[in-house]
Symmetry: C2
Subunit: 368 residues, 2 copies
DNA sequence: CTGAAAGCGCTTACAG
DNA sequence: CTGAAAGCGCTTACAG
C-alpha cells in the first residue's frame, strides 16, 4: 500500500526543494509548462470546444475555414499536443492497446509484435507489458493494466488459472493460451501437430528411447507440447522419459541436461526433445562441453524455430510456430472487438510444422 | 486525421449495433460495468474524498477505523479498482514509465528490462514502446508517448538528431545514445574500449586485413563501435575495409556477407568484425554455406555478447556490454528525476570488455 | 474525523 | 458556425 504524497513519498510527483532547478530552467528533462486546449483557445480567440473539434478533424460543416486556420496557428505556435489523459477521461477510454507477454525479449516476439502492429494500424497505440522473467501474466498484473483503461488487451501465454479471478473490463484476446477456458477469443498454435511430426521423425530415424526436457513455467503451451509429443512417441513405440525441466534460459537448461544425462545415457536415450529452442541451445552447449556429438551421440530438437536455429552448427531441428500470423490474427480479432464488431471466429488455430535440420538428421547438409 | 465517433469511426469506443451482445451478457471480454469511487462511497455511506484517502493509505489521523473498515468492505464487494485515468488527471501525471527501444525483441533487452524494473521498484508501472523494426525512436513517436503523461521516459538508442525537435515534458533518461547532445542524463557503454581490445586481439593473432560489417540504422552506438574499432585497427597497422552493411537481421547480414566476400577474399581479408552479434550469426550461416571454416578461413567477431554467442559452434568472440547494469543505472537516474532529486552524475559510462572465443581464437576450447 | 467543492484537460450534446 | 455547460473519475486543499 504505497503512500503517494509527502515526505519520502510524492512518488510520481515532482517535489521541488530549494536547491533544485526550477521548471523553467529545464534542468534535466523537466517539463516545460505544458500548453493546454484552454491556452490555444485563448490565443485563437475561440472556445475550447472549437479547439477540440479542430484537433479531432470534426470540423465538417461546423467550423469556418478562418477559425480552423486561427486554431491551427495557435496550436503550432504553442506546440500544443492533446493531453491523452484528459482526452481519455472525456471519451471514456484510451486508444492504448497493451500486449502482455512473459518474455518479450525473446526473438520470437519480434514477429508477433510486427503482426499485431500491422493488424492494429495507426489508430491504436501499442504498448508492451512484460512480466518478471519466467513468470506468466497474473490477474493482479492485468488488473493494474485494466486500470489504465486500455482500448484492448492482448495476453500472451497466461497461466492456466489466469482468468479465474479476473473480471474483464476491456476487450481482450488471448494468444498462445491453449487450455484456457474463456469467453475471450483466442488465437493458438496447433502445436500438437508439429509435436507429432517430431515424434514421427525421431521414430523414423530409428530412435528407441527419447527424453523430454520440459519448461518449468505453468504455461499451457508447454504442457501441450510435451503431452502431444509424448503421446505420439508412445504410439510409435518409443520409450519416453520426462523427468527434467528448466526455465527458459540457456544456462539453466544446460545445467538440467548436465544433471539428467548421466541418468539418460545408461538408460539408452539417444534423442532429447526440448520445450523451446532456447532449452535446446543449453543442451547444445552442455553436450559440447561433455564431448557429445550431435546428432551422432545425441539428437536434439526444440520448439519455436527461432532465427538462430537455422544458423547454429548443426542447425536445430525445431517445430516452427508462425509468430507473425499469431500477432496478425490476434490483432485483428481485438480490433473487431474494440470497434464493436463480432469476431469471425472466436478460436483461431494456426498450423505448426517441423523443420528438420542437422541436430537430428545426420544426412542434413548443415551438419557439423 | 482520424475521426473518432459515428459511422466507420468510433475507433476506440464500443459501438453497439442491434444484433450485438450487450455489456451485460459479457459476450467477448466486454466490460462489466465498472465500479467507481462514487459507487463505493454510496455503498459505504461516506464521501468519495474518504474513499480516496482509504485507497491511498492516507488515513493516519484522518479516518476512523470503522470508516476504513466500511470502505474496504465496499471496495471488496464491488471489486473496485481505482481508475488510472481519473487519478492521473487529478494528480497531474501517471505512474507509468515508458521504455522506448527499437528492438525489444532482442535478447539483449531481457537484462536491460530486468535492470530497469529493479531500479524502479513497484511504485512505477513499466511499459515498453517498440518502434518499427530497425527504426530508431523518432520525435513524433515520443511526442505521442508524452501525451500519455508518463511519469518518465527511458529512450534507448535514439537517432542522432533525436532531440532536435523535442520539447521534453517529462523526466527523461537516454540509454545507449552516444553522441546525442542533450540536457537529459544519459547512460552509455564505453563501447570504444571493447572495440579497441578487439582490434588489439585481431592484430595479436596476426591478421593483416580486416573487414567491418556495419549496421545500417543511424544509431550512435553503431557509429561509435565502427569508428573506435577502425581507428585502433589502423593504429595497429591493420588494413581495414568497411564497405558493407546490413540491418540487424541474420538473413540480411548473411546476404551482405555473401555479396562482400568475393571482394574481400581476394583483397586478403582474414577477419570480419560485425556491428552486432546478430550480424555475426548471419556471417556464420553464410560462411558455412560457402564452405568457409571459422576461424581458419575467416575469423568473425561481434558486439553485444548475446547469450547465444557463448553457445554457438564455434563460440562467438564478442564485445560484452553489461545490459543489466545499463537498465539499473538508467532506471535509478530516472527515479531520482521523477522524485525531484538531482542525479548523481548526469553522464554515466559503463565498461565493456572483449570475450574471446573460438570464432577468432583457434586455440579456444570451444572451437568447432 | 468527515464532506462539499474545486479542479485536473478534455469531449460532447445542446442551445443559440 | 460557435460557445457555455456538464461530465468523465479521481485528489486535494479547505472548512467544519
Amino acid at each position: 500500500m504505497p503512500e503517494a504524497a509527502g515526505g519520502a513519498g510524492g512518488r510520481y510527483h515532482r517535489v521541488m526543494g530549494s536547491g533544485e532547478v526550477s521548471k523553467h530552467t529545464n534542468g534535466y528533462g523537466q517539463s516545460a509548462p505544458r500548453a493546454t486546449a484552454a491556452m490555444v483557445a485563448a490565443r485563437a480567440g475561440v472556445s475550447t470546444a472549437t479547439v477540440s473539434l479542430v484537433i479531432n478533424g470534426k470540423t465538417a460543416g461546423r467550423v469556418s475555414a478562418d477559425t480552423i486556420e486561427a486554431v491551427q496557428r495557435a496550436i503550432a505556435e504553442l506546440g500544443y499536443v492533446v493531453d491523452g489523459i484528459g482526452s481519455s477521461l472525456a471519451r471514456g477510454g484510451s486508444n492504448i492497446v497493451i500486449l502482455v507477454a512473459p518474455d518479450v525479449a525473446n526473438p520470437f516476439y519480434a514477429d508477433v509484435i510486427a503482426g499485431v502492429r500491422g493488424a492494429l494500424g495507426d489508430d491504436y497505440q501499442l504498448l508492451l507489458s512484460v512480466t518478471d522473467a519466467g513468470k506468466t501474466p497474473e490477474p493482479g498484473d492485468i488488473r493494474k493494466l485494466f486500470s489504465l483503461r486500455p482500448a484492448g488487451l492482448l495476453v500472451d501465454a497466461p497461466g492456466t488459472d489466469f482468468l479465474a479471478h479476473l473480471a474483464p473490463v476491456s476487450p481482450m484476446v488471448l494468444l498462445d493460451a491453449p487450455g484456457i477456458d474463456s469467453t475471450a477469443p483466442s488465437v493458438n498454435f496447433d502445436v500438437a501437430h508439429g509435436a507429432r511430426e517430431l515424434a514421427d521423425h525421431l521414430a523414423g530415424l530409428g530412435h528407441r528411447r527419447v527424453a523430454y526436457l520440459d519448461a518449468v513455467t505453468g504455461t499451457g503451451t508447454f504442457r501441450l507440447r510435451r503431452d502431444a509429443f509424448l503421446a505420439r512417441a508412445v504410439e510409435r513405440g518409443l520409450k519416453t522419459v520426462a523427468d527434467a525441466g528448466a526455465k527458459v534460459d540457456i544456462a539453466a537448461s544446460a545445467a538440467a541436461f548436465a544433471d539428467a544425462w548421466p541418468r539418460w545415457a545408461p538408460a539408452g536415450v539417444t534423442a532429447v526433445v526440448c520445450a523451446t529452442d532456447t532449452h535446446a541451445y543449453g543442451v547444445f552447449a552442455q553436450a559440447r562441453r561433455a564431448g557429445l556429438r550431435i546428432p551422432d551421440d545425441v539428437a536434439v530438437a526444440g520448439f519455436d524455430d527461432l532465427p538462430y536455429s537455422a544458423t547454429s552448427t548443426p542447425g536445430l531441428t525445431s517445430v516452427r510456430l508462425p509468430a507473425a500470423a499469431l500477432g496478425r490474427a490476434a490483432g485483428s480479432q481485438l480490433r473487431r472487438l474494440m470497434e464493436g464488431m463480432p469476431v469471425e471466429e472466436s478460436r483461431v488455430l494456426l498450423p505448426s510444422r517441423l523443420m528438420v535440420r542437422g541436430s537430428t538428421d545426420p544426412s542434413h547438409p548443415g551438419r557439423a
